[in-house]
Symmetry: C2
Subunit: 276 residues, 2 copies
């Protein structure tokens, strides 16, 4: 009942691996060459594998007794022309190239389907590392006030409407005005954009206003695509003058809950989980 983690970049894969190990599970890590930049895998059974070699990954998983597979972290889109492919990779390539054009969601779905076809069970972060899942209520010391709660409700409504149309998973609302909505650019760039708006519409790091909401698209698979925040998200939100961050309780992940709470407290933001 070993858990196989295919690990890309960012803090999420390590957080998942550590959380699963702490819960008593055997963990085997496939570190994706070029995507996983920090070498944290050394303390786990692991192997470095190119994204072009899914055959090698399958073999390593079987040898390690892996039954459940989890994909986590950012994967840098490879240049297909430069990719060293194993036999399985060559078989998968047409599907992968077609999916890659449609964006990360589609690409992930193809990879998950491949592992399921090979007899593995695909699991999500919420199942493998329940400690990362956002709970209900405030993570740090601060709580949203009444204005913030109204902005949170409005931002959730926007994100759900957008999600139903497969647009994005985040939005920023400030005192009744939608400041920014995420599409293909991603959450980080959307947050950064807020700071470029005229000051009458937004807050500043000194006088914070407005909220960021991040929620799962109904079209997304909770196994691979749950919204994630971490310390960097809190810092970006603070730099953009936001008063806080709202997540769906049970529907989002927080990497490093204690560190996130401490940073939010230090910067004067709330981080809150709202029952859907």
């Amino acid at each position: 009942m070993s858990l196989g983690i295919i690990a890309g970049g960012g803090d999420l894969p390590r957080a998942v691996a550590e959380s699963a190990r702490a819960a008593g599970r055997e963990v085997f890590v496939i570190a994706l060459t070029g995507s996983m930049t920090e070498d944290w895998a050394a303390s786990f059974s692991h192997e470095w594998v190119s994204i072009g070699s899914p055959g090698q990954t399958l073999k390593s998983f079987r040898r390690a007794g892996v039954t459940e597979v989890l994909l986590a972290g950012k994967v840098d889109r490879p240049k297909f022309s430069e990719l060293k492919l194993d036999a399985k990779g060559i078989m998968m390539l047409p599907k992968v190239v077609a999916a890659a054009k449609k964006g990360d969601d589609a690409l992930l779905r193809v990879l998950v389907a491949m592992f399921e076809d090979e007899g593995f069970r695909a699991v999500g972060v919420a199942e493998a590392a329940p400690g990362l899942v956002c709970g209900e209520g405030n993570l740090g010391r601060l709580a949203p006030n009444e204005d913030h709660r109204a902005d949170l409700a409005q931002a959730f409504a926007i994100v759900r409407a957008l999600g139903a149309l497969d647009v994005g998973q985040a939005a920023v609302v400030c005192e009744g005005l939608a400041l920014a909505v995420e599409a293909a650019e991603g959450t980080d760039q959307m947050i950064a954009r807020v700071a470029g708006l005229r000051e009458a519409l937004r807050g500043t790091p000194e006088k914070k206003r407005g909220v960021l909401v991040k929620a799962l698209k109904p079209t997304q698979d909770a196994k691979t695509d749950m919204p994630v925040i971490g310390v960097a998200t809190v810092e970006r939100a603070a730099a953009a003058g936001l008063a806080g961050i709202g997540l769906e309780a049970g529907g989002a992940l927080i990497v490093g809950k204690e560190a996130v709470a401490a940073r939010a407290d230090a910067l004067g933001l709330f981080v809150t989980g709202v029952k859907p």
Copy 2:
């Protein structure tokens, strides 16, 4: 039955004034100091007025026999502390400051309401200058193909969903993927953002893909807020690698139809009006 035009920046006010005069109407122009940068008003009965002096505007309109009033063009948000106010301006200020915080839509609604309270009839561009309204079908030589039509339908669905939540009036969709959605940053910045996405997701000026759609928010007043495009919009869309622009027939304005058609033809984009 003279038409009073309160003119801010951009090409729209001049296009409205010329179109109304061509249709045989008397036109009186209030040129807003600081907002109207190009001095095209000289060929009309006109007066330069500060945005802080609505009393002067009312007086000039009455003297000129104006019965209908139209606001058009971009108004630079004044620094209220530096504003020279007349008596009417002082009376209006609290309302205006409160509305300005909510954004341009709210500010315009306050100004329109003031003129209506004073006995003028507020008219929209579509009524005063019907020649600017987007018709059905293609403006230039090019037409959307089947893929573009699917993207147009998806973008209209997104803009309508966003509009119902008072978010924005424009979106970019490319082969089924929502690339960018407008909120407080405005259409120009949203278009520019598309060029910053990774090339797999978007077109290029050489190989155009994806469409821009601009449509009226249901929460907006067609008198003041109809979406407008012009030659610059076509140029921005081309620079962002888009294949074309879709507007609601009867629900959007095109400044300089002939010039827009010629530029779209030259740059290889379609501009099309779609029956809602």
